[in-house]
Symmetry: C2
Subunit: 212 residues, 2 copies
DNA sequence: TAGATTGTTAATCGATTAACAATC
DNA sequence: TAGATTGTTAATCGATTAACAATC
């Protein structure tokens, strides 16, 4: 049972933290938790947690709280962690390798079927049993394998043409690490930006403006 | 002239994107921009942009717009991009290397003075002229060099003890890539979290819940 | 039953949008 | 001067918090 549809962006952005926290609780064999206890671990208010959880249909029990494993599974379902999406990765530098290792390390929803780079020193190398292909083979590969998601780890200077090629190939879902903003120009596209430089600037702000 | 103080978190989170966009405009020799034009590039409303910019004192000119270079510089100042903070990096795997290369590639506010790892295969290697030290030397190094910021690129399993050591050494500013939540337990600390797994989960949500 | 804690409704708070006088 | 565009105030919208009846 899922009310959905009315899930707001702030709630969505909190879901991963719920999921991570519930996983940790489970690892510590905590089977039951109240909104009050969860609020302490998440740094939110108990009220907000009940509000959040109720928007996809309330799996708590009055006087008892929430079953950790059930809640984790429900949130996992909502997040779509159980689907499998064929994914390619562009740019196999340090960041690309880090992301590839992360995605390949467990049974993730984005399963990487191809890795591409243009650097001859990197092409042909193996990353967790996947051989890095020449970017020239991108069109051919995509026409055959029809990937649904692309992870962009190329340098910013190379991001725009990379996006354009992928978009022309019909790919509409992107995880973008390149510090280049693609989503502004297309509204039929899903782009999750992980702009490391934005985090960096925010940190600078927080440090230099802290009240001390 | 700076009103400051009344800058809300949503505004702060938007500042890096302003900064990036203004940099790009400058590179394209665009010297002048109106809130209307900026709004298109940023995916915000013109009204919001004027509202945002006015909260640190309005550097626009009626009938003209904003001077790109001036605005960029002002936002850079607000972000604290001109300070220099002594920084150490913990964990020199792929992600750590990527972050180190990023920080060392230009003249950034976080200047890395030490990199630490516990893997004997990594210790002693050079990353952009900085030799990776044994994590055992952390206490000694910090007592001498007094770094102000730590970047956490260790695996999640090792994050908690790493944070504890750094906190004991008096470090209060963190850039955390480890998927472990540290800030919940201390309120005298600044932690900017870049949880790659959270981005990943959000992307999964967006893909599996898109209306198509 | 009594105590605890949910789900939900109402109240508050804050952020975004709209509108417009000021002015370059 | 006329046109453009700001900075700011007021109106709207949405998100968070508080409160409490329902109920396990």
């Amino acid at each position: 049972m899922n009310k959905q549809g009315n899930i707001s962006m702030p709630v969505i952005r909190r879901l991963p933290k719920y999921y991570r926290t519930l996983s940790e609780l489970l690892q510590n064999d905590i089977t039951r938790i109240s909104s009050k206890e969860l609020s302490i671990r998440l740094g939110l208010t108990a009220s907000q947690i009940r509000q959040d959880l109720s928007c996809f249909g309330g799996f708590g029990q009055q006087g008892y709280g929430y079953k950790v494993s059930q809640l984790k599974q429900e949130i996992g379902n909502i997040l779509g962690m159980n689907f499998k999406y064929k994914t390619i990765l562009l740019g196999a530098g340090n960041l690309g390798k880090a992301v590839a290792m992360y995605m390949l390390s467990k049974d993730r929803s984005l399963s990487i079927c191809g890795i591409f780079d243009k650097d001859p020193n990197i092409i042909g190398k193996d990353i967790n049993n996947i051989t890095v292909s020449n970017i020239d083979e991108l069109e051919n590969f995509c026409n055959i394998n029809k990937p649904e998601v692309a992870i962009i780890c190329v340098p910013k200077s190379n991001a725009a043409p990379t996006f354009d090629r992928l978009y022309a190939l019909g790919i509409k879902n992107y995880w973008n690490f390149s510090n280049y903003d693609f989503n502004v120009m297309h509204d039929d596209v899903i782009v999750e930006n992980t702009h490391i430089s934005d985090s960096f600037m925010t940190l600078c702000y927080l440090i230099s403006n802290q009240k001390n």
